[in-house]
């Protein structure tokens, strides 16, 4: 699925475009994501969540102590987070919703997406929740998740959270379903009760909850089942621009463009002053590096820069980060 990125900062737009755009934006974007929510909508979401919950809950497991996971086939394949499963071929113990303990082994993983898998090794037919098809989940979708927040509590059970998809990328989904330690590896569902992602990590804000999308499993399905730890697709992780910069009064001045890098491809020039990345100010080379690494290779960023007193914007498609180079 191609998720297009739409960034603020188009300098070719004049005032007419701005006014026209504002009018259109106020009338309602034709893309359909800017919609009011009604109480009836919320009740509809509630009904669907509650309809999907019993099966979703039966499929959700505790993975060896602290993490969570979800069974996605009747023969016992389990989606989880890489940082819970660890390396392939290890033994693990799952606690099912009814309290049964079953033996499992870890399969492959993709560390860059925090996707890990297990297989129940005991014979049986297991309660499961199916995976959604690739591309099924989109920005704005309502969703719910389960996880054993702060560890297994038999009386409490897994904790439900309901929210919406905020960002959908190749290797991550962001939602406003709050996560905490213990939820890792647990399932994120669409309202049909299909697994669309796996709980992975958070940042400080309550809207910053990240999940590995099922697509990150599906892209590597055969090697994951075969128990491969799929190497990072992106060197040190994340995208790479390929510039050396130094702080400048209004941003960062480019001192060097690494030959063959994304920056070189886009013909960035030493002396340009980078003002913003995707319309977020970058105050230090570290911040620029962080911003770039948070994206994936192949994603595009819009750099706002100044050259000879004039401001411009340029779109740069990030490349893989070479593993041995430390250049930003």
């Amino acid at each position: 699925m191609a998720v297009s990125k739409v960034y603020p900062g188009n300098d070719r737009v004049g005032w007419f475009g701005t006014v026209a755009g504002l009018v259109l934006a106020l009338l309602g974007s034709p893309t359909g994501t800017a919609q009011a929510v009604s109480v009836a909508d919320l009740k509809g979401v509630e009904q669907q969540v509650q309809r999907a919950l019993p099966r979703a809950r039966q499929a959700t497991v505790v993975v060896s102590g602290g993490g969570s996971g979800v069974i996605i086939t009747p023969d016992g394949y389990v989606l989880c987070a890489e940082h819970v499963t660890g390396r392939p071929g290890r033994r693990a113990l799952l606690t099912l919703d009814d309290g049964r303990l079953v033996a499992a082994k870890t399969l492959g993983n993709t560390r860059f997406a925090d996707a890990g898998m297990l297989k129940i090794v005991e014979p049986g037919e297991w309660p499961f929740a199916p995976m959604a098809e690739a591309g099924a989940s989109q920005v704005g979708d309502w969703c719910f998740l389960l996880g054993h927040s702060s560890g297994y509590d038999a009386v409490r059970g897994p904790v439900v959270r309901v929210g919406r998809v905020i960002v959908k990328g190749r290797n991550l989904i962001q939602t406003d379903c709050q996560l905490i330690g213990g939820d890792s590896g647990g399932p994120l569902f669409n309202l049909a009760g299909e697994v669309i992602g796996i709980n992975s990590r958070i940042a400080d804000e309550l809207d910053e909850n990240y999940h590995a999308p099922v697509e990150a499993f599906q892209r590597f399905w055969e090697p994951l089942l075969a128990g491969e730890a799929i190497p990072r697709q992106s060197g040190n992780g994340g995208g790479w621009l390929g510039v050396r910069t130094a702080p400048h009064r209004d941003g960062l001045v480019i001192n060097e463009v690494v030959p063959g890098s994304a920056a070189a491809q886009a013909a960035l020039q030493p002396g340009w002053i980078i003002l913003r990345v995707d319309d977020y100010a970058v105050g230090s080379p570290e911040e620029l590096g962080m911003a770039i690494r948070a994206l994936s290779p192949g994603e595009k960023v819009t750099l706002r820069y100044r050259q000879d007193e004039a401001e411009h914007s340029i779109k740069v498609e990030l490349s893989d980060r070479p593993s041995r180079r430390r250049t930003r």
Partner: protein, 367 residues
């Protein structure tokens, strides 16, 4: 086996790749101010020829975004009218829920100083009398003088369903939305704390337990316990191991006074320590560290509704409302990043009965 820390981890990227990656995520994807919604909208329309969806959900559209909350505002209007703010020393310490026609209200007891003011409208505040406190529920009964102070209407009791939406009105702010996350259940008490780190002596047959560190602003610090003090007895009972001391302290509650016999510099002393909350150890708990401000008193409830509304610790004591506008509980504790507890109506009504009895006994007793 992975280490426990790893299993519990919800921030692997943070741990492995430095904190910076989290900061980066925030700077790129942060909950954008509302203006961004418009900005992105604009650019989506302008730059992309009307074809592309947003790359991220504008803040207003999110579960606790302005558009969503605007929709639920009318639902909570009646409950919001019965929700007041309790001020202690000038700042809000709790919300209060009006429960009768004569200015009676309940609030979160453990957050209330001895003297409080109740703000029941934007420009109207009055001193309130704290009539009684109920340790079991952590509710206090207060009364204010004022006209037209109508209490909440308790619903016909029905079950609370996992996955149902709940709303909390907060005076001066938009209401906040969440779901019931788990079954209604009791929460065990955690007991009190000194707020010290204890040294595990390797020697056998220890006669005392040594304090390795006194945590700042802890009960121990307030009482004057010091690093190196050797605790010999608690309330006259000798303690010969770290575990025995912890167990003994946990049997008592925050606010209780314990008598500590200790050795300091070769001399024996006796000290009274008013125990604190076990939340003094939050800085050492990974999940608490990622949770923002939480309530000190968050354990020891007969029954709670667990929900996900992100309420700050000074916004408890207010009503928890269903999407039908029914008050289904009183918020009582912010627990962690994903958890808030509310007392179900049945518990609240039991507590109110106890509080009224207690208040009546106090006023009827001779001076």
């Amino acid at each position: 086996m992975p280490s426990k820390a790893r299993l519990n981890s919800c921030r692997p990227v943070v741990d492995r790749c430095r904190r910076s990656s989290v900061v980066a995520q925030r700077s790129i994807w942060s909950a954008a101010p509302r203006a961004w919604g418009v900005a992105v909208c604009l650019v989506a329309v302008l730059g992309q020829g009307f074809a592309q969806p947003h790359d991220y959900l504008p803040a207003a559209e999110r579960t606790n975004g302005a558009n969503t909350l605007e929709a639920v505002q009318p639902v909570v209007a009646a409950a919001a009218a019965a929700t007041v703010e309790i001020l202690g020393e000038g700042k809000r310490v709790s919300l209060g829920t009006l429960i009768g026609v004569d200015g009676e209200l309940v609030a979160k007891a453990s957050e209330l100083p001895a003297e409080v003011t109740v703000r029941f409208a934007e420009d109207q505040a009055a001193p309130a009398a704290i009539l009684a406190r109920d340790a079991d529920s952590d509710l206090a009964l207060l009364r204010i003088e004022g006209d037209g102070l109508r209490g909440v209407t308790w619903p016909v009791l029905r079950g609370v369903a996992i996955g149902q939406w709940v709303v909390a009105p907060v005076p001066g702010a938009e209401p906040s939305l969440g779901v019931v996350g788990a079954a209604v259940r009791p929460i065990e008490r955690a007991g009190g704390a000194l707020g010290v780190r204890l040294a595990y002596d390797r020697g056998s047959a220890a006669e005392a337990v040594t304090i390795a560190e006194v945590y700042p602003e802890s009960a121990a610090a307030r009482a004057g316990l010091q690093e190196g003090d050797r605790i010999r007895a608690v309330d006259g009972e000798p303690v010969r191991s770290v575990d025995a001391l912890i167990e003994r302290v946990k049997q008592r509650n925050p606010g209780d006074t314990v008598r500590i016999d200790l050795e300091r510099g070769g001399e024996t002393q006796t000290m009274d320590v008013v125990l604190g909350y076990r939340s003094v150890f939050d800085p050492f708990d990974r999940n608490q560290r990622m949770s923002g401000p939480t309530s000190r008193r968050r354990t020891g409830f007969a029954q709670v509704i667990q929900h996900t509304i992100p309420l700050p610790p000074d916004a408890l004591g207010g009503p928890l409302v269903s999407l039908d506008g029914e008050v289904i509980g009183i918020n009582i504790a912010r627990v962690d990043r994903v958890t808030t507890y509310a007392l179900p109506v049945r518990e609240v009504q039991g507590a109110i009965a106890r509080l009224r009895r207690s208040a009546a006994n106090q006023t009827s007793s001779p001076p």
